[in-house]
Each structure stands twice: as structure tokens, then as C-alpha cells.
Symmetry: C2
Subunit: 223 residues, 2 copies
């Protein structure tokens, strides 16, 4: 309904977040073509003519980084007319979460020009990708508090220490271990597997798994 013909490209970008060694990281790829050649950017690209944005995000992620079967949700649509100097392009940003191990193995080792960067020390990014990362981090922080989304950041089984470290890293503050452990088991977020972790130089940790890895809303609401 707005006058003449539109000429707008539609793209997707994916902010893949992972917690590695107590740092919240994002997966970046090196841009090959101008005007941002050489810079780091989120993996992404134009959507196909018969593809939803989520399908395009999944496809781009696999093509550019090898990652598949990851948690992925739509984040926000960025539409500043100046966001791409090469011409008008609206981008539907997505948030993806992976266990740090997967990010390392599948992406950064086998693919050239792919790296995991701490969000606290990002290099200059192409386009408006710095805003996208900021939005992704906010979304993760808020969902961590009322969903079981942390299951996407951890391997199948894990110790409660690892779980707590994920929470502390994402939220950016220390948590009390007694209270933390009480909560996550009382809320039935995680359940013990009965196994112990062998091999550490310390007391072995009991292993846990998430009650479910499907998305779940946890906390009761009020008003």
C-alpha cells in the first residue's frame, strides 16, 4: 500500500551463544565480500523464496558452521534502512544455543573463518550485529530465569557445579550453592541420573540430566 514497488532483501542472522570456561561466547564468521570483507559477523544470509525465516536460519547455520539440531528461536527483526550499506535489507535475527563442546568441535575446528568470541570482548562487527548480540544476551538472561532453556547450553548429563556456572556466567553474578541446588531439584528442573563423574582430580560429582529438554515455563506467576 506504500506507493511504488518495494525492493527490499530479507535475510536472517543467527546469534549462537555458548558458555565456555565461565565466559558467555558468541559464534562469529569472517565476512568474505565487501563492504565488510574481513570483519566478523553473525552467520546468516538471504532467505529462500519458499522458506520460513526459521528454516533459513537453520540452513544458514548448518552451511556456515556445521551446527545442526540446536535450540533456535526467532529473536527480533532489524529494519534500519541504513543497516546494510550495500542496499536495503531487513534481517530477522534468531537466537541459538549450543553446549560449548559442540560449538568448538563442529564449528570452529572444521570450518575456516569461524570463531567463538566472549561477548564481553567482541571485535568490531559487521552491520548492526553488535545490537543483535546485545538483544540475544538479554533474551537469554531473561529466559534463563523462568524456563529450562539452560538445557540447550549443557550436554546430556552434567554436574550441578557446571549447571551453576552456566547460570552465574549468563546472569553475571554469583549464586549460593546450597540455595541453587535446592531450587533446581525442588522445581524438578533436573534429576539425578544415579551416575557419578569419574576421573576428576577431586571428589566425583553426581550427574544430573534435565527433567525434559523440551521448552518448559517454570515459575509460578502472581499479580
Amino acid at each position: 500500500m506504500t506507493g511504488p514497488h518495494q525492493s527490499i532483501r530479507v535475510a536472517v542472522d543467527v546469534a549462537v551463544l555458548a558458555v565456555e570456561a565461565g565466559r558467555l561466547c558468541v559464534l562469529l564468521v569472517k565476512v568474505r565480500r565487501p563492504p565488510f570483507a574481513g570483519r566478523w559477523a553473525l552467520p546468516g544470509g538471504l532467505i529462500g523464496q519458499d522458506e520460513t525465516t526459521t528454516a533459513a536460519a537453520t540452513r544458514e547455520l548448518r552451511e556456515k558452521t556445521g551446527l545442526a539440531d540446536v535450540w533456535l528461536e526467532q529473536l527480533y527483526t532489524f529494519s534500519d534502512p541504513a543497516r546494510d550499506p550495500a542496499g536495503r535489507c531487513v534481517s530477522v535475527a534468531h537466537l541459538a544455543l549450543v553446549p560449548a563442546r559442540d560449538a568448538r568441535l563442529d564449528a570452529t575446528t572444521k570450518y575456516a573463518g569461524v570463531g567463538l568470541f566472549p561477548v564481553a570482548e567482541l571485535p568490531p562487527l559487521a552491520f548492526d550485529h553488535q545490537s543483535v548480540v546485545a538483544t540475544a544476551v538479554e533474551r537469554l538472561q531473561s529466559k534463563l530465569e523462568y524456563t529450562n532453556i539452560a538445557s540447550s547450553l549443557l550436554p546430556e548429563t552434567f554436574g550441578l557445579g557446571e549447571l551453576q556456572q552456566v547460570y552465574e556466567t549468563v546472569l553475571g553474578r554469583k549464586l549460593d550453592p546450597r540455595n541453587f541446588r535446592k531450587r533446581v531439584v525442588d522445581l524438578d528442573l533436573v534429576r539425578p541420573t544415579g551416575e557419578l563423574r569419574r576421573g576428576g582430580a577431586h571428589r566425583p560429582a553426581r550427574l544430573y540430566r534435565f527433567a525434559t529438554r523440551k521448552p518448559v515455563i517454570l515459575r509460578k506467576l502472581n499479580v
Copy 2:
């Protein structure tokens, strides 16, 4: 990066919600052109070549319904390739909130083919607008519980009874008046103006206004 050239239109749609007479309603406009001529739909249209989606949503809302200066935020981007039978069109849906009075006066009286419909009894809608309305209602319900977003659904001043009715209508359940009143004043969500409402056939209500109408996050988090 996906082969040949894209040909995708980019549109916005706006779900304007209001609470009227204890019912949650959405503003719809009658579609003029095929393939959905005669059906009801959300106000919306193609975005301009140099316009953000939010600017386009604001503009479309004013053009189609006369509403201006309303609370408006991006909701979700709908990209099913089959959502528009007339050809590929990605739509960035927005959520808008207005006091019921404004919806009635500015929109439905002065503009032909505009109506306020209870979301519980919608007529058949064009495109995927039924999903858009459902998404909008969910977003409103969840934000009502931890923000001051209700300020956008009420006039400048109001009685606590009206405020409670807005909450009950949106959330779809009854609330206890003693607890409700305690909360909203203790949390400094609303403050008494000192005025009374004159003219009802009953005991006059003390009037309140929101502590601020700017977006605010209310509840403290935990973990």
C-alpha cells in the same frame, strides 16, 4: 547467499488491543482487495523503502484507523511462504495498546470499515491474522504481570476497580480486591491523585494515575 534473486514483499501488521466492557478486543479493518476482499484483517501494509518496520506500523495505523500516539512494540515476524495467496510476503507484526475510549472514538466512528471485536469471538480473518492476534494476546498477558503496560490500556486517571477489571479481563481470571489494591500501591505502580470520581450512582471512587507511563519492569527476579 541463496541462489537467484529474491522477490519478497515486506509488510507490517498491527494488532491493536483494548479492554472494553470486560472484554479483550482487537481492532480490525475490512479488506478491500482480493483475494480477501470483504474479510476482516489487522491494519497493515507494505513498508516504505526507507522506513523501519515500527515507523511503518505507526504510519499504517494512523492512515487506516486515525490512531496516533499509542503504545506500540514489535511482536513477531510471520514468514510462512503460503501466508499470502497473492505472493510471497513476510510480515512483521506489531502489538499496539489503546484505552477503549480512544479505539471507539478515533477509529470505529470516523473511519468506515473499522471495528472493535472481542478476541473470544473473532470473525474469519484474512492471511494468518488469527495467529497474530493469538500471539499478541499472549504477549500482553505475560507483560501485564511484570511491567506497567496496563497504563496503555487506561485513560490518564481511573479508579482501582477499572484497573482491576483490565487485569481480570486480560488474564481471564478473578482477582481478590484487597490483595490487588495492596500490590499495585505497594509496588508504586499507581498513585492516588487526590480526586474522586463524581457522578456514578454509587460510592465515588478515588482516582489514581500510573506512577509513570514510560515502560518499566516491576517485579524482582530470583533464581
